[in-house]
Each structure stands twice: as C-alpha cells, then as structure tokens.
C-alpha cells in the first residue's frame, strides 16, 4: 500500500474517520485483535527471556544473565524455560511477576490473555518441574487458571500437557465446587 499524505487525508475525513483517529491515540483500546493471539503467544514463547525480563526490571538484567546461564542451562527463550527439566526457580518467579504486571494494565505490552497464560505457565512449571509453589493463589484459583489457559485454542499441545499435569498434581477439589473460568 503506497503511503499517502495522512495530514491531507484528515482534512477530508468523515466524522467516523475522525472518531477512529481520536481512538487511535486513546488508552485502553486493544492493540491486537483476538485472532492475533496465537501468533503473539508463539512469538512470546520464542522471545529471549533476557530481553523481556531485562526491560521489565532493568536492575536485574545482570542477575538474569547469571540465571539464564546458570548450571550450563543456557536458557534463551521462554519456551526453553518452561520445558526445561530443571529451570531456575528465581527465573520462573520473575517471569510470573512480569506476566502479572502485564495482565490488567490498560497499556500493557502484552495482551491480557497472553500475559495470563504466561502467568499460569510459570506457576505450573515451578510446580511440575521443581515441586515448588511460587504463587499464593488457592488450589481452586490455580485449577481455574490452568483450565482457562488450556481452553485457549492458541495454546500449543505441549504447553497444555504441562498445565494439565500441574492441575492433576493439585489436591482433588471438593465435590460440588464449581470452577468457572477466570
């Protein structure tokens, strides 16, 4: 699509176009369309851990470098972190915090759905790979979160298996306690 003179175009725009233009600068408007979540989630899993977490908290960049390289793990991406047999616990906790910070912010850098999935994935990974609990959520809340994440069509099968395992490892829920999606 050849570029046009947008300033000139605005001078002839309809009220609907002008309204859309105002909205384009508005806070709280979704950046990405729902049908793009699959590509965004895939991209997030292949993204370098150091890049996103380093930006999230600049002060911990050096620490992160040490963590990702620790024990010769040489973790580079979030996918490698989640699917490593013994991922660094601290790195999972930082990932969880990064995801949480992006979950409900109006101008979040991650779509809320993807941030939520990363959040529960961090907790599930710590539970399944290390037997550690890095969240204060109740079992019911965790089960609900895992179930919601598994239900997203854009979550890959390998990740779903991890979430199902984490959910299965939780103590059985009491009969009659319904667990709606978050």
């Amino acid at each position: 699509m050849p570029e046009r003179n947008y300033s000139e175009a605005a001078l002839h725009s309809t009220p609907k176009g002008l309204e859309a233009l105002f909205n384009s600068g508005s806070e709280g408007v979704r950046l990405w369309r729902p049908e793009e979540l699959a590509a965004i989630f895939r991209h997030q899993l292949t993204a370098p851990v150091l890049v996103d977490l380093g930006r999230f908290d600049v002060g911990t960049a050096a620490k992160l470098k040490g963590l990702t390289d620790s024990q010769g793990l040489l973790l580079k991406s979030f996918s490698e972190l989640f699917h490593h047999p013994t991922p660094p616990l601290e790195l999972l906790a930082l990932t969880k915090d990064f995801a949480k910070a992006n979950m409900n912010h109006p101008e979040s850098a991650l779509p809320g759905e993807v941030a939520t999935a990363i959040y529960y994935l961090s907790i599930a990974t710590a539970a399944v790979r290390l037997g550690e609990r890095i969240s204060k959520l109740t079992d019911a809340d965790l089960r609900r979160g895992y179930a919601w994440t598994c239900a997203q069509h854009w979550v890959d099968p390998e990740t779903k298996r991890l979430l199902l395992q984490a959910s299965g490892d939780l103590p059985a829920s009491e009969p009659g306690t319904a667990e709606p999606a978050p």
């Binding site: 300033s7 605005a10 309809t14 002008l18 991209h43 101008e107």
Partner: protein
Amino acid sequence: MPAPAAGRIADRLSQDDKPSIFPATQWTQLGGAAIGGAEDLDRLIRQYWAPLRIFFVATFPQLRADADTWLQDFAEDKMLKAGWLARADRHRGRFRDFLKTSLRNFVFDRLGRAEVKQAPVALEDLKIEVADAPPPSEAFDLDWVRTVLAETLRRMEEDCRNPAEDQPRRSHIWEMFRIRLLDPIFNDTEPPPYGELIARFGLVSPTDASNLLLSGKRIFRAHLGRVIQAYAGQDAATAAEIRALEDFVAGLAKRG
C-alpha cells in the same frame, strides 16, 4: 470594503511550508496591550482559515463571493490588532466560540457602518436571515477538528521521520502507527497481521511490537495536546477541549 492587498494571508494559504499554529501562549499572558506575536497570529489565522471560511460562508451565504476579502479584513482589523486575543479570555468560553462570535459581530458591525457603500445585502435582511438559519457551528467545528487532527498527524510524521540520534526506532514507530492504525482509517484496509510484523520490524518479542505501537499512540497524544494547548491554554482547558472535540465527532459519527 478595502480591496485585497498583494501578499495577503489568503494568497499565501497554499504555501507548502505551512507553519505551526496558534502562539504557544497562555491566556493569562495575552492581556498585554502588545501581543508582540504578529507572526504567531498570522500563523494562527492561516492554520484555521478553512474552518473560518466554512463558518463565514454558511452564516453569510450572500457574501460568499467576497469571503476571502471579508476574512482578510477580519484578520487584519481584529485578530491582528493588539488586545483582540486578550479578550478571548478562557473564562468567557471556548476560543472557537469566541472566534465565531467575533467574526459575526465584525460582519454586522461593518455592514452597519455608514461608510460601507453599496453593501451586497441590507443589514436588516442579513440579520433576519442569520437568525432564521440553522447554526453553522457544526460545519465550523467539524472542519476545526479536521484541522487539529491534520496538524497533529503532520507534526507526528515530521517528528518520527526526523529522529534524534538517540531515537533510532522513531521511524519504525511511525511506520507501525501508519500501517496498523492510519491505513485502516484512511485506506479502509485491514491492518497487517501480527505474524507479518515480526519480520518487517525485526521484533524480538511481543513486548517489542506493543511498545512500538504504544509509543506511536503516546506521540500522537502528545502532539494532539500541544496543537490544542496552543489555543486552549492550560492543561485543564486543553483536556476539556480534547473531550469536547471527541464528543462532538462521536455525536456526528453516531448520527451517520
């Protein structure tokens, strides 16, 4: 009515190097006898000439043929005179309304003066007609919004295309804003899907992508604020004016 002079404002409107708009001056600073900003006011007038013209022609259709001359005289006799802008006190209403009222009064006043010979229309007839006609404010305000947003986009593009050394991604910000938000509005196209953006912009993570788009939104908002602040004044008045303009176009868009 005086004849148009060579080199007058209307003759210069087509210049490519259209300057920025209203003087970046607070209302409270405009009370002095000499504004000392004739150049700024000149720019102001040139920027908002189109909405003023629309208002003038809609209000005084009988004077359409001489619209530019009337506006030229209004600019020289009123707007460029020291003290005029000072009267547009922010406590007395919005600048846009002040401008319209001022122009109306100017026309009535001039037509009513004894020295105006062979006026194109009798003042009394004109007053009756204006009173009966629907208010042309909507057309004026619509063009005003267009002018404000056009100036905002012009500044934003210029800003992004001429980045400072420490802003190497500025051109990417414009490009992302353009293809994701502007093209769908102005070209009625679907924005390119996320997957395509990864290679196009060399994105390493979704955060990268979002930050480009969010930066574009912030730059747009910042320029919009500056464009409006130049005539609306203080932050609160600017925020109110932005809301008023948004509500106005939303109302029009809803009516279709």
